[in-house]
């Protein structure tokens, strides 16, 4: 309790408090801009914070980190372009809600779910940081490999009628993950002599292509034929007057509570494990929400499809700081930047941080709590003043804005026009996938997890002298394997049940 008060005391300094609020607002803005995310903004701002008071500097960064995942959902819902990679799953149900004229409800759900996930992870950071960090350290290569397998098994959970196409999409994604330098020898693979491909295919332009450019190509595809999605969204928004941006009503909160709890749990667990990442959390949370609500048609604009990834991605935010603050191990890229910021300020992270600088350690923790509390009203206001004007725009004018954001965002990722090319290619891939009814989700997930799978497979084989028994010998790995098998079997069992019960029902 005393430590919590020490942390809170720092925010009595108006500059520290203002920095936290400014960071939260900045996080919402950069999150909403495709191509920019928390890591890029924090990386840009670290040199700026060098001369600042450490408390002011860290508050600013905490605010940005907290709010950017939330801001990324705004363009995902309004334009089907995820502002950040963590919002890609939100677009699956968020944008269909916009098409139904429920964009304000979708945005309200995004913000509330983000708040729920964010505040739970801030609490986890506050009360369980040291205990959980020790547990997370038990993860070795076999466990990470099995974690990636668990992520892949959710692909089957998301499978529609055609499982083969899901596997095919997964195979293409895994091959794309092989592009670049080999993790074992450092030799180039499938780069076709292109230097820009040595680091693999970058995530941000890939996502912008698969979502933003695809939505634009769909508009071109429909020229002279039918109403485009953007035109439908614009018309529905104009006719929809009862929809509002604000907190969801009691009935909706009651309906979404299980999804929020489950997704926040998934986000917190995966956030604590270094390297597991936000992407896996959003996919797992979405898959679990889908399994828990078999009566709902996910992908057509259901509230649970928005609530699950949004609470999961914000739950990863503060929990990814657990290994950093407790052990000095960054949980992901952004928390690695925090490590840099703390080092610049002359501090060493790890268990000694809490003894040597309790004011700073607890200020960061309380900063996450306060930033989440501030984020909810701030993000709702932000959406209120942004959503309405965007939807009133003419669809063709909106399309021009979308393509400008796409090309600029892809370029800004690394100041390289090659990445605009990557974006276009992935837009075309997305278009062909759409035409041939190949699902995109397995492609996206496998391109992200492919690298992690390969490097941990190689390390596990080296560690176990090329014996795959290692995956069942270690308890955590075994549990993950069992979970993966259950995830794989569950939809097949459900289908079998359906097949058995349907003829009976027909006969009756």
């Amino acid at each position: 309790m005393e430590n919590i008060l020490i942390g809170l005391q720092q925010f009595l300094n108006p500059m520290v408090f203002l920095a936290l609020m400014a960071g939260t607002l900045l996080g919402l803005i950069v999150g909403a801009l495709p191509g920019l995310n928390d890591s890029i903004t924090i990386a840009v701002l670290i040199p700026v914070t060098f001369g600042m008071d450490p408390h002011v500097a860290l508050s600013l960064l905490v605010g940005i980190y907290c709010a950017s995942a939330c801001g990324g959902s705004i363009p995902a819902v309004l334009l089907e372009i995820p502002g950040t990679a963590s919002a890609m799953v939100t677009a699956w149900d968020g944008y269909p809600m916009t098409l139904k004229g429920k964009c304000k409800q979708a945005l309200s759900l995004c913000m509330t779910s983000s708040f729920f996930g964010g505040i739970t992870s801030a609490m986890v950071l506050l009360f369980f940081a040291p205990i959980l960090a020790q547990w997370a350290l038990k993860f070795g290569p076999p466990e990470y490999f099995m974690l990636a397998i668990l992520g892949m098994s959710t692909v089957i959970g998301m499978a529609g009628k055609n499982i083969t196409k899901n596997f095919l999409s997964m195979g293409i994604g895994l091959w794309l993950a092989c592009i670049g330098m080999s993790p074992t020898t450092g030799m180039a693979r499938f780069t076709f002599g292109t230097v820009s491909l040595m680091d693999g295919i970058p995530l941000i332009p890939r996502m912008i292509g698969l979502f933003g450019v695809l939505s634009l190509l769909k508009m071109f595809d429909a020229v002279g034929r039918k109403k485009t999605d953007a035109a439908i969204a614009s018309e529905n928004a104009a006719h929809c007057t009862d929809d509002r941006i604000g907190l969801p009503d009691r009935a909706m909160c009651k309906r979404l509570l299980p999804t929020w709890l489950k997704s926040s749990f998934i986000g917190n667990v995966l956030g604590i494990i270094p390297g597991a990442g936000m992407t896996m959390a959003i996919f797992l949370a979405y898959d679990q929400a889908k399994k828990a609500n078999p009566h709902l048609e996910f992908g057509t604009g259901v509230p649970e499809g928005v609530a699950a990834p949004e609470s999961a991605n914000n739950a990863v935010v503060a929990s990814s700081m657990v290994p950093l603050l407790s052990l000095g191990i960054p949980g992901n890229g952004t928390s690695a930047l925090f490590l840099g910021a703390l080092t610049i300020q002359g501090m060493r992270t790890g268990p000694t941080l809490f003894n040597d600088y309790p004011d700073m350690a607890y200020m960061i923790i309380m900063g996450f709590v306060l930033a989440n509390l501030a984020m909810l009203p701030m993000s709702l206001m932000f959406c209120k003043h942004l959503a309405a004007p965007v939807l009133k725009l003419n669809p063709q004018v909106l399309a021009a804005g979308v393509i400008m954001l796409c090309v600029t965002g892809s370029y800004a990722y690394m100041n390289n026009p090659f990445h605009i090319g990557v974006m276009v290619v992935f837009g075309v891939i997305g278009y062909l996938f759409w035409k041939f009814d190949i699902p995109q989700a397995p492609l996206i997930l496998s391109t992200i997890l492919g690298g992690m799978m390969e490097s941990n497979w190689v390390s596990s084989m080296v560690y176990a002298d090329h014996s795959p028994i290692v995956f069942v010998q270690r308890p955590i790995s075994l549990v993950l394997l069992i979970l993966s098998v259950l995830f794989l079997i569950w939809p097949l069992v459900q289908r079998l049940k359906k097949r058995i019960t349907t003829p009976k029902a027909t006969m009756a």
Partner: protein, 145 residues
């Protein structure tokens, strides 16, 4: 064989050839670096064959490209590649104004008196956010500062 079935079969047929080439490409790699791509290649090759078999057995095929403006999609893709090519030559601002004007015009917006200022204003807003506020180094060509 009808046209729709033929179009649908091109997809798995393409992937069979593609993944066969991937597996072949792994033969020239060092054994340690070839393991994972080979596993992926073989797995995907098998899945592609299954897909080909299912598509051959399937009876009702729909023409996925019927009634679609594929030419317009190809045109837009070509324009985007042209945008990349011109970016360093004429700079971000002019290039993006042209791209946004093309997008509006190609999608059927014919009010040129509105489209031109909208293209300029939207480009300048995005330019201001990225170049001035976020200090992204956009290629400027003639207007560098």
């Amino acid at each position: 064989m009808n046209k729709s079935k033929l179009i649908n079969l091109t997809m798995p047929a393409f992937f069979i050839v593609f993944f066969a080439l991937v597996v072949y490409a792994t033969t020239s790699m060092a054994p340690t670096e070839a393991v994972f791509p080979r596993m992926v290649g073989v797995f995907s090759l098998v899945v592609s064959c299954f897909q080909f078999y299912f598509d051959i057995k399937k009876k009702d095929h729909k023409d996925k490209f019927q009634g679609c403006n594929v030419l317009k999609v190809l045109e837009a893709t070509a324009v985007l590649f042209l945008y990349i090519f011109l970016m360093k030559k004429i700079g971000y601002v002019i290039d993006t104004i042209l791209l946004s004007f093309y997008t509006m015009f190609a999608l059927g917006y014919r009010k040129i008196k509105v489209a031109v200022p909208v293209a300029v204003i939207l480009t300048l807003i995005i330019f201001f956010i990225f170049k001035v506020l976020l200090r992204v180094s956009l290629p400027m060509a003639f207007f560098d500062f």
